[in-house]
């Protein structure tokens, strides 16, 4: 599968303190890993060192099902990166995961960039590997179901 956006955008890497490394390691395996507090079971996204509900530092990384709903979206026309110059419009979606207390994730909506995008529509996660990148990484994209 060819990537949704052209090559040359910045490659995601974990922070020097390693906070988000389990997420990026997970996407390479085709798993969607998010944080969950071991003490109060609150789902946490994006990655953080502490539970915002109970202040526990004891957070687990848990695989969640790649099933979501479109919470919001935008169609981008004006490129702000050289790799996107002369590339047509593309769609960014914000997806909430009902299986994990509606935490939200950012991705692209695969398919026709001019498609209608209904807020609330169901989507599924698609793993998009970038094996040639340095370092290699895998993005999580979304597709209408």
């Amino acid at each position: 599968m060819s990537p949704y956006l052209p090559k040359g955008l910045p490659a995601p890497t974990p922070e020097s303190d390693g906070l988000s490394a389990p997420y990026w390691d997970g996407t390479r395996r085709g798993e969607l890993m998010v944080q969950r507090c071991r003490d109060c079971k609150t789902w946490i996204w994006g990655p953080e060192w502490i539970c915002h509900q109970c202040h526990s530092f004891d957070l687990d990384w848990t695989a969640v099902e790649g099933k979501g709903r479109i919470y919001s979206w935008e169609r981008v026309w004006h490129p702000v990166h050289p790799a996107l110059k002369d590339h047509g419009p593309y769609i960014v979606v914000l997806v909430e995961l009902p299986g994990a207390d509606n935490i939200r994730m950012i991705g692209n909506l695969l398919g026709d960039p001019m498609q209608d995008v209904p807020i609330g529509a169901e989507v599924e996660a698609i793993f998009e590997p970038h094996d040639e990148a340095d370092p290699p990484y895998t993005l999580v994209q979304w597709r209408r179901v």
């Binding site: 890497t13 996204w45 702000v80 991705g107």
Partner: protein, 393 residues
């Protein structure tokens, strides 16, 4: 214990700016622009610039106060303050920080300033071109979500969907700014009028925002002088008294990867009540409003969260005739604002709020007693303030 408040204790005594330029076209260095605006504000206030004893700014302004103090021969430096985070959302907060210093005796005369020469430094509206990216940006940039417009468009999209807001409501905000700029010789878009058809035919930047929904990027500098109210009374201009100021953001507004609980928001939901509480005014008392347009959708949500109308009334309220000075129900961005006067990171809006109170605006509203400014919506922290005439004290 009496209520803790800044109401009426300080005033804006002077305002100044440089000429405003398109980005990259300022003939002077950014630091020289800052000095020029500060000197102009001191002259307007009728004070010796060496008597300025404090400096306040926001968005990591690059002109360091100690260097300015050395360059200006400041007699004594007593206050050197940077509002932390939020970019243009710190504009009113910087005035609040200056006011707090003056009101509590930490300083006697604080200048709030902002200088930008984007040609000499990085531009706001460009994405990162590093080969790798980390942290929260790593969850966004690889998906082509990079510029401020792209970062905030989904907030507005959700708000418009939830409340049935039409594109024409955003268009009205843009038309008002461009209309007012045609009366303002300082405005970068002076002589460049905008009509509804041109707006409708303009290209999308990122839906739901067209070209004319987005602020300019400019070079220049602006400054204003905050002094104790009793001292400001003896200076050349009618003082603009600070009635109230508030800064901050809603619960977990910066939750990473767009996880703010109140997402479709200008970030002012928790801030605006503090502002009105200190100022002791209601939205209906506001005679004229300057509301930071990074994007028109931010203005839409700012106005709702400051209580000017219910979200479901957006289409009815946001029509050009309501927003245009002098006769509109709520004259908005009467200098042209960030869209059409100059993107001086919103500080030009505060100068305009002062001009309206003095009766000096190029699109003056009749008998202004309460003049309000909203800074930088959708970021965190945000801030807003209310100025009043002597009659409001």
């Amino acid at each position: 214990m009496s209520k803790r408040s800044l109401r009426g204790s300080v005033a804006i005594a002077g305002i100044g700016e440089t000429p405003y330029y398109k980005h990259g076209q300022a003939p002077d260095s950014e630091f020289k622009l800052a000095l020029t605006a500060i000197l102009n504000a001191a002259k307007d206030a009728g004070i010796d610039p060496r008597d300025i004893d404090g400096f306040a700014s926001y968005s990591n302004d690059r002109s360091d106060p100690s260097r300015i103090a050395a360059a200006l021969g400041t007699k004594e430096l007593r206050f050197s303050n940077m509002q932390w985070g939020g970019g243009g959302g710190g504009g009113a907060a910087a005035v609040g920080n200056a006011a707090a210093a003056v009101a509590t005796g930490m300083a006697d005369c604080v200048v709030v300033f902002r200088a930008l020469a984007q040609g000499q430094f990085a531009r706001f509206g460009q994405g990162p071109t590093t080969p790798t990216i980390t942290g929260d940006l790593a969850m966004q940039a690889p998906y082509g979500l990079m510029s401020p417009g792209q970062r905030y468009a989904m907030k507005c999209m959700r708000f418009m969907k939830d409340h049935g807001v039409r594109q024409e409501a955003l268009r009205a905000i843009s038309l008002a700014s461009y209309h007012h700029a045609q009366f303002n010789p300082r405005a970068v878009m002076h002589g460049r009028p905008l009509d509804a058809e041109t707006y409708d035919n303009s290209r999308w930047i990122v839906e739901p925002w067209r070209l004319f929904d987005c602020c300019m990027e400019n070079d220049g500098a602006a400054a204003l002088i905050v002094m104790p109210a009793d001292r400001a009374k003896d200076l050349p201009h009618k003082p603009s008294y600070l009635l109230g100021v508030a800064a901050g953001s809603d619960h977990r507004c910066a939750a990473p990867s767009h996880n703010a609980p109140n997402y479709a928001s200008s970030s002012f939901a928790s801030v605006a009540p503090h502002l009105y509480d200190m100022a002791e005014v209601k939205p209906g008392d506001v005679d004229v409003l300057q509301s930071y347009e990074n994007f028109t959708g931010g203005v839409l949500m700012s106005l709702v969260e400051h209580g000017f109308f219910e979200p479901e009334a957006s289409n009815d309220f946001l029509v050009p005739e309501n927003l245009m000075a002098p006769g509109g129900k709520l004259p908005l961005n009467t200098s042209g604002g960030n869209l059409a006067e100059c993107y001086m990171h919103g500080l030009e809006l505060q100068l305009e709020a002062v001009r309206q109170l003095r009766g000096d605006s190029t699109r003056q509203v009749a008998s202004v007693d309460v003049s309000m400014v909203i800074a930088g919506p959708m970021v965190t922290p945000v801030s807003s303030l209310i100025l009043g005439s002597e009659a409001t004290l």
